[in-house]
């Protein structure tokens, strides 16, 4: 078994424009996903939108630069994630395809396993 982070990207403007109806639909979708993959979901959260984000970079002189906004401005922003367990990438992809994604899509990233014995 291995763990994968499923990063959910979407168009925030479309989400905002969708109103309570879309919100409810998404909520139901995630509840259904969570029920179907109860055995595989190890964690997950929705994120507040990128207007609430703060980015911190280290400057060359060692000081910190704190800026308002996400790390990278993209049309489709990170809006949530699941941590899932799957035997292999094929299984992870099959699960990820069922994540509600009204706009944008998801990125599947394997979790790095640190081998402490080495």
């Amino acid at each position: 078994m291995a763990q994968y982070l499923v990063l959910i990207y979407g168009d925030e403007k479309a989400h905002a424009a969708g109103g309570p109806k879309l919100w409810e639909q998404l909520h139901e979708g995630h509840v259904a996903f969570g029920t179907k993959y109860e055995h595989a979901v190890a964690g997950g959260n929705a994120l507040q939108d990128t207007s609430t984000a703060t980015s911190i970079r280290k400057d060359t002189d060692g000081s910190f630069v704190v800026t308002d906004g996400p790390f990278a401005e993209t049309k489709e922003a990170l809006g949530g994630y699941y941590l899932i367990e799957a035997a292999d990438l094929d299984e992870a992809i099959a699960i990820a395809k069922d994540v509600p994604m009204p706009s944008g899509g998801v990125e599947v990233r394997p979790i790095m396993v640190l081998d402490m014995s080495r």
């Binding site: 035997a87 292999d88 990438l89 094929d90 992870a92 992809i93 599947v108 394997p110 790095m112 396993v113």
Partner: protein, 422 residues
């Protein structure tokens, strides 16, 4: 076996075995090592050992089984003695990890055929198309990194980095070393066939440079298609791809004249077409369309078969070809297919109808930078004796192709136009 061989005979036998059996040997060894690098190392050592053993012992009756047994023994030795530090990547995920030693099976030569596993892993959808092709050439065809780099016209270090990155992704993201389930198989085989066909096309029409044909890539593509045919004898799409490749390749001797100029179908000497490839291709087309009517590659092959079986250009059954393009557009609605259909319409119903069909596609953004669209227009305008318009279209086509042979063809046509009429 007591027959001894000269070293030249053995070298030839090993080279032949490398081409025929590499995928079989590597695929079976990787199932044991669950690591591509170690698997490749052991397979290479087995071929090296053949060079020293076969001169005295004779070439075995089944070289593939001999080589696999040697490679797997090496792998078992390596795995027994290997320190964990040696391995840089996690093990490949395989669904049936076999007992550590199955030497009894090896002794009987009953080695499972893992080639389908190998090629499906190389062509996994989580890898980019160019990575799929590079891995297929390297792992399934057994090309060196330098040879793969040459096929892509990139430097060896670039290709080495690409292959290393791909192996790392397969291991780290756990792309399984497995034959896909029956449910996934058609789509996955579709990706494999796309890779094989792209390899053939790249070899058949080298996009730049002086050589119009890269024979080495063509032969690898034919080998791969034949291998898939052995592995999946009932698959209509596999039959369709092999048919398409053979029928297209049957015209290889006549695609360019002795001066390297590209020749169109109407200029080619049909007596030089490869009748053996045509016969095999035609029978495969029938089989493929019988098993699954409407297969994309089978329909393309059927079009090639109409040309291959026509005794002359003038006797070509253009109505049949237009009908086949109509069927192809149903399953593959692509502007390039529509353009080819328009060209066929031009021969079935005359250049005016053809020009109208090409102009109907003028809005297609995909065709805007496509040299063949301008070349097709130019040809219809030439046949309609609209020489000034034809000249403009030929010049546009020349701006859009970099292939030297194709450029020479277009320039020749341009020069053959009568002088300016205004």
């Amino acid at each position: 076996m007591t027959i001894t061989h000269t070293s030249a005979e053995v070298a030839a036998a090993v080279a032949d075995a490398h081409r025929r059996e590499w995928a079989f040997v590597l695929a079976a060894t990787v199932r044991l090592t669950r690591d591509f690098d170690l698997g490749e190392e052991c397979a290479q050592e087995a071929f090296a050992q053949a060079l020293t053993s076969w001169p005295g012992d004779g070439v075995p009756a089944r070289p593939g089984a001999w080589l696999t047994t040697v490679a797997r023994r090496r792998a078992l030795d390596a795995l027994r003695h290997e320190s964990v530090v040696r391995r840089t990547l996690p093990l490949l995920v395989a669904d049936d990890v076999e007992p550590a030693v199955d030497e009894a099976a090896d002794r009987d030569g009953e080695i499972a055929d893992d080639r389908l596993r190998l090629i499906c892993t190389c062509c996994h959808p989580a890898l980019s198309r160019e990575t799929q092709i590079a891995l297929t050439l390297r792992l399934v065809c057994g090309l060196t990194t330098a040879e793969v780099a040459r096929a892509f016209l990139v430097s060896e270090s670039t290709m080495a980095a690409r292959i290393t990155r791909a192996k790392k992704k397969i291991a780290s993201a756990r792309i399984p070393y497995r034959v896909p389930s029956a449910y996934e198989l058609p789509a996955r085989i579709g990706a494999v066939l796309d890779v094989v066909h792209l390899l053939f096309t790249t070899g058949h029409t080298a996009p730049a440079g002086a050589d119009l044909i890269r024979r080495d890539l063509v032969e690898r593509a034919i080998d791969l298609a034949r291998m898939l045919r052995v592995l999946l004898p009932e698959d209509a799409d596999v039959a369709g791809v092999l048919a398409l490749i053979l029928l297209t390749d049957s015209r290889r001797a006549t695609r360019v004249d002795p001066e390297g100029r590209m020749l169109l179908l109407d200029e080619q000497d049909r007596a030089q077409w490869d009748v053996r490839e045509i016969a095999e291709g035609v029978s495969l087309v029938r089989e493929a369309l019988g098993r699954r009517p409407g297969g994309r590659y089978a329909l393309q092959a059927a079009i090639a078969a109409v040309h291959a079986q026509s005794p002359s250009w003038a006797q070509t059954d253009w109505r049949e070809i237009v009908a086949l393009y109509d069927a192809l557009l149903e399953v593959w609605p692509s502007p390039v297919v529509a353009l080819n259909r328009a060209v066929a319409v031009g021969f079935a119903d005359g250049p005016a109808a053809g020009l109208a069909a090409v102009d109907a596609l003028a809005e297609e953004p995909q065709l805007a930078g496509y040299g063949y669209a301008a070349a097709a227009r130019a040809d219809f305008l030439r046949r309609l004796e609209r020489h000034d318009d034809a000249r403009v279209a030929y010049e546009e086509a020349l701006l859009l192709t970099e292939n030297a042979a194709e450029r020479a063809f277009l320039e020749r046509r341009l020069q053959q136009l009568p002088g300016l009429t205004r």
